[in-house]
């Protein structure tokens, strides 16, 4: 847009300049023509006067010749013949002059020829009559005729010269008129042309001053922009650089120098000078990446280290883009930022993460080993108890029998706890492999594990068709198992358990409980039972580890099963909710993300 305006403005100024040049040329041409017209007019006037003068001279010479001739006739003195002959010479001279003056005018030339003939015939007549005078035959008839003829010729000469004189005057008048009209329009013309010039100059001036104003405003903006760029470079810890590839010239911004720990523009911006700062281990990589930037228009960020003069190492990240300037030169425009803080933060975070992971692993390993190693002595205790019961029970007193029962119950419970803990620590293990599994199959497997208790409690299990899903299969099976066994465990004493499982695929937007869900669609599986239920206020607490709502004499739970469920669901980035009503039953709803 700006470019366009600028272009328009230069074009406009160019047009004005051309117009002005044209006007000046026109004025010059016209002035030249006028002056040369004026000169030629003057010349014409002078010429006319010369012509008239010559004509008058011819007449006067003729008169001299005539009077000389007459004097000779009267006196017969030859002295008069001299003046007559002189006059003849002068007339001829004047003719020559006249011929030169009227070269361009054919009409006058014709007239001159006639005049010439007349004078020639006059002089030949004079010569003829001279003979008569010499012989003293002036009274003869022939001489008288000759004399009369001479008078006629002289009259004719006078008339002819008059004609020429008039014609010349007429021409002079015409030229003067023409010249007058030219002269009359010249000042007006100059005035108009000057006005146009003035107008053009004014237009050009306003245009130029406007442009200058615009340029100044743009310059001010540029200054502000430059200053804000400087500020942002300092605050954002980045600097930019330009590399004119063809001429191998570099320009570094002030802050790029600061990033290197140097004063702005304190050394010449060259590749070699910059390379001095690059960490020795990164030099090769840095040069290689820069080469790549020349060829490829866009490249991912390059990371490298530099060593400042004070020895501190900084991490820099550079990005460059190549393009062609107006003059067709290839330019690489780059931006380099100091990411030392980021990198250090990341490193600290990574360290902490590693530590945490290590801790977690250790904890998990400890949990696993503890549970696992605890199993062995416990198993032996239980086996010995079973041996005691089998072989030695009749040797115990009633109290002893009772004690044995209590030992057995406690050991069994411990075994249950260890099993569950083992299970819980297994769900924490990191090697979880997601596979596409048929949930119906996983449910059947879980049900299989509970065959005994199902038939014992005469439980009815009604299940909808479940979908296939990408899950950690053994964990989902464990989830089903835990939910089923939970419902079976907390059933009412007198009522056969009825467990119903519903399935639907839902949109997260339409489930109020999923308002925080990141996925759009979920598999919703609901387990409902007619068991003892629970108070809704414990709905969240029941998923906590070792949390039990009932005493262990009545119900055998360890408080781990539902925690495992929660863990498994978390591993799948799903949700689990519990709803309960005392003596009516519980509803467990799980949401698994689709894909």
């Amino acid at each position: 847009m700006i470019m366009n305006n600028w272009f328009k403005s230069t074009l406009f100024l160019k047009i004005i300049l051309l117009l002005s040049l044209f006007v000046i040329l026109v004025i010059g041409g016209l002035t030249f023509r006028h002056i040369s017209n004026l000169t030629s007019s003057t010349e014409v006037v002078v010429k006319t006067y010369k012509v008239n003068l010559e004509l008058e001279q011819i007449i006067s010479y003729l008169r001299d010749a005539e009077s000389g001739y007459r004097n000779y006739i009267v006196t017969k003195d030859t002295f008069y013949i001299e003046s007559y002959l002189n006059a003849h010479k002068k007339v001829n001279n004047s003719f020559l002059n006249l011929r030169n003056l009227i070269k361009v005018n054919s009409e006058q030339q014709e007239n001159l020829k006639i005049l010439n003939k007349l004078t020639d015939s006059l002089f030949s007549s004079f010569a003829e009559s001279k003979v008569f005078v010499k012989n003293d035959e002036t009274n003869t008839e022939t001489f008288k005729t000759l004399f009369f003829k001479e008078k006629v010729i002289i009259d004719s000469i006078r008339r002819q010269s008059m004609v020429m004189f008039q014609l010349e005057n007429k021409l002079l008048n015409e030229r003067q008129k023409e010249f007058q009209s030219d002269l009359k329009f010249t000042p007006l013309f100059f005035y108009v042309v000057l006005l146009i010039m003035l107008l053009l100059i004014i237009i050009a001036y306003t245009k130029i001053s406007n442009d200058l104003k615009n340029i100044k405003a743009k310059n001010d903006q540029l200054l502000i922009f430059k200053e804000s760029t400087n500020q942002s470079e300092i605050i954002g810890k980045h600097g930019n650089w330009v590399w004119h590839i063809d001429s191998d010239k570099y320009v570094y911004s002030d802050n790029l120098y600061r990033l290197l720990g140097e004063e702005p523009q304190s050394f010449e911006a060259t590749f070699d000078n910059f390379l001095k700062f690059v960490h020795p281990d990164d030099v090769d990589k840095f040069a290689e990446e820069l080469d790549k930037m020349i060829d490829e228009e866009e490249l991912p960020f390059t990371n490298y280290r530099i060593i400042q003069k004070n020895g501190s190492i900084k991490y820099l990240k550079a990005f460059a883009k190549s393009f062609y300037g107006d003059d067709g030169q290839k330019i690489l425009l780059g931006n380099t930022s100091d990411v030392t803080d980021e990198i250090e933060n990341i490193l600290t975070l990574e360290e902490q993460n590693l530590e945490l992971e290590q801790n977690n692993k250790e904890l998990s390993a400890f949990n696993y080993a503890a549970s696992h190693d605890l199993q062995e002595p416990l198993r032996k205790i239980l086996t010995f108890i079973s041996r005691l019961e089998e072989k030695e029970s009749d040797k115990f007193s009633d109290t002893g029998q009772q004690y044995l029962e209590h030992i057995k119950a406690a050991a069994s419970r411990m075994r249950l706890l260890i099993d569950d803990l083992l299970q819980f620590s297994r769900t924490n293990k990191p090697d979880k492999e997601f596979v596409n599994a048929d949930l119906n199959e996983l449910f059947e497997n879980a049900k299989q594990d509970l065959t005994e208790i199902i038939s014992e409690k005469k439980a009815q299990i009604k299940i909808a068709t479940l979908p296939k899903a990408t899950v950690i299969d053994f964990q989902i099976q464990q989830l089903f198992l835990n939910l089923l066994s939970n419902s079976l465990k907390y059933s009412k004493e007198e009522t056969a358990p009825i467990i119903k499982i519903y399935y639907s695929k839902v949109e997260a937007d339409k489930e109020p409980s999923l308002y925080k869900a990141p996925q759009s669609h979920y598999h919703k599986i609901t387990f409902t039972d007619n068991g003892i239920g629970f108070d809704q206020k414990y709905a969240k607490k029941i998923f906590d580890l070792f949390n039990r709502l009932h005493n262990k004499q009545d119900y055998s739970g360890t408080g781990i099963g539902l925690s495992i469920c929660k863990k498994i669901i978390q591993n799948h980035k799903g949700f689990i909710f519990a709803n309960g009503e005392i003596n009516v039953g519980s509803v467990f709803t799980i949401y698994l993300p689709v894909n």
Binding site: H372, E376, L378, R379, K380, L382, T383, S386, R415, F474
Partner: protein, 148 residues
């Protein structure tokens, strides 16, 4: 060599377990002969002897000193003369890792030591009665772990 009894070897470092094991066979009234070794090295020394009598079933505990059950299993399966022995892994734990490893190495069945003597007797009688030829052909990861 002809024999009219089932020859069973147990390799287990736990004396109590050996006691339960032999007691169980005693009570089972099957014609068996049980030989036990206290660690993997002892077991392999015996099996590597030229005239050693190969067992019909070898019960192998995993966690043993000197040479673990896994090491023994790998050695046995690598040896031509022993590779036909039916091997029952007999371990306290039944971790997925252990099950996977022993299955891949070629064990025939995985038994988790029961915590009830009656159950132990049941398990052992079942294992001894297995037709190994048939069992091995139909063996897969799902029926590898003996469930009761």
């Amino acid at each position: 060599m002809q024999k009219d009894y089932i020859y069973i070897i147990l390799a287990d470092d736990d004396e109590d377990d050996i006691l339960f094991f032999t007691d169980a066979f005693d009570e089972l009234k099957i014609n068996t002969k049980v030989n036990s070794f206290k660690d993997g090295e002892e077991l392999m020394n015996y099996l590597n002897k030229d005239n050693a009598l190969m067992p019909n079933v070898l019960f192998l505990d995993l966690n043993m000193p000197k040479k673990t059950g896994i090491e023994c299993l790998a050695e046995i399966k690598a040896s031509q003369k022993m590779s036909d022995i039916a091997i029952a892994i007999y371990s306290t734990s039944a971790s997925d890792d252990d099950i996977e490893k022993t299955f891949v190495l070629g064990a025939n069945i995985y038994i988790k030591k029961p915590s009830d003597f009656k159950k132990l007797k049941k398990v052992l009688s079942e294992v001894v009665a297995i037709n190994w030829q048939y069992h091995t052909n139909a063996l897969n990861k799902d029926n590898f772990l003996l469930r009761l």
